[in-house]
Amino acid sequence: MALNLFEDKGCPLEKQRFTWKELVQPPISKLDDDAFTRVRVILMNGIEMEAIRFSHGCARMNKELQLPLAQLRIVEQHQATMVNGLIGADHSMLETTIGYEQVAIEVTAVVAQNEPDPYLAQVYRFGMLEDFDHLYRYSAMLDRLEGKDANNITQCYTDIVPGRPTVIEHRAPQDNLREHYDRSRAAPITKLNALTIMSAEQQTQNFYLNVAPLYADPVVRQLYVEIASIEEQHVTQYESIIDPHETWLEKWLLHEANEVYNYYGCVQQESNPRIKAIWERCLDYELGHLQVAMNMFKQYERRDPAEVLPGELPEPIKYESQREFVRQVLNQEVDLRALGTQFVDKSQEGEASQQYRAQLNSSGSPTDTVSAGYQWWPGTEIVRGKEMAFKEEYAADTETIR
């Protein structure tokens, strides 16, 4: 069934209710569920978090919208809660992190291919190679800290090798801004892509900042801190591709439409029937939100929402391994660097980013440290590992303890 944003009215806002029990449902199985189910959970939590954040920003700037925003926002809050709670507590924080990077790789790779604007497609490929590297760094950490294989999370969908090395991803702020699409000319999918990836990156940045101090090991803390700094750059990059001339109400419409678009893709592709029912419920709720936002748009802007939204939704994001595409981009674009809003070969990188990075890395780079000599292998690097050298004559001492 194709969804029509103007005709499918969804669940009316006043009927969107939860109980605490509904907000805390049984989580997915880390072991048995498909990795893409976790990918969808992580992505949709990010999208809900952005819905909340945007709504607060909008309320702070628009007195007359405060009540309808508040009425919707509490639903977004509860959706975020319900979705985020689907990650089981048997995930260590690093394991969840591996899931976050898998989202950033696989979803951004699809978006890069769906994006009709060639410049923006390049922006996505550029960011994707950086998150690709993060997966490798965190995998090394998971192996060397907890003795676990990251591939048990990613389930062979995603390669685990270095990308654009994180140590050189640090850039001066002016090299993190990009050019934005034009609100009046951009295709609807362009707007949805930008919102989706920005939301995912923002949640990732937020998550890493929260997780870093939960680890006792300063090595893990440094690792999260270094990568969180890149995720902040990613948020900066992706928010800058969105046209800042869109009105508040236009942005609100697009946010709700993007929630509809993404839940629709989840519903279509979910393999776990219980989780699918959650996506269906959320889709129905988002269609209801969109109705409210469209009414506000008509009332305050005296414009037809069809000027901003397409009737029929674009093709949903495909949840399947993008291995071949990612490898191709890795081969061709790993040496790209950002200079202002443009991408150049590493030989042409600007002074500012080089200086910024040299200072930040002057006491070493945690991403390099944790993955020194690391090559992923099924069952962890220990499978191919050598024994630690030790002196037998000292080891014999333990006899006297017994």
Binding site: P26, L31, D32, D33, D34, A35, G88, A89, D90, R144, N151, N152, Q155, C156, Y157, D159, I160, V161, P162, P165, V167, A216, D217, P218, V219, Q222, S321, R323, R327, G364, S365, P366, D368, T369, V370, S371, A372, G373, Y374, Q375, W376, W377, P378
Partner: protein, 243 residues
Amino acid sequence: MEKTTVLGKNRTGIDMSPIDAKEMMALAKITPSSSTGDEQAIAEMRSQYIREAEVIGSIPPPGTLKGMASTAMEKLTGKNPEVFIDKLGCRLAFERAGVRLYDALITKCAASSNGSIVPIERLREFRNEELEHFKLVERAIRSIGADPTAQTPSADVDGMASIGLVQVLTDPRTSVAHCLEAILIAELADNDAWQLLIMLTEKMGMDDMARDFQNALREEDEHLAHIRQWFKQMVMEDAAVVT
């Protein structure tokens, strides 16, 4: 009895996707890491932080030094009472947390259809004994003028170590056998810690206290033996082999 370990669609492991796995391994093999070395690099960063680290916290000075029973005072002079206070505080915290671990285990067994081999009444008894031990240590701490409501560094560190046990015991998806294993870890550590504490108490010259602690240890021995036995039995029955 219901099986708690089931065959199903576990998607971890490379046998689930042999073709993809081969591709991944081929790429990993030919892709060098971007920095040389090995896990020693992590050890070096950790070492640097270890050398710069401060202690996790301190022992509160006995608040009522002047109120401290003079006999206790005499016995502790010339020794390091802070170590004794730290370990007493640790035992207190562990026993108190143990009550909560048993609360969770009792709920798990009562709610689970395959908890039948574990007599819940026995678990309640163990739970109450942990509570008794908590009170025993509380009195002991008070008797030397220290504050039983303070959290000592060893208590704090034991709490860190136990977080995983709490998670296992309260996850609705874990089986009774999983939870018995978690409690077994706790009881093994508990048992050893009581032995150490008794030795320390004797060396501190607190003979009456040490005798009370011996009684607690006897009950802990019982806990350990039973938990170990139930756990073993459940695993064997689940595997359809006789014990």
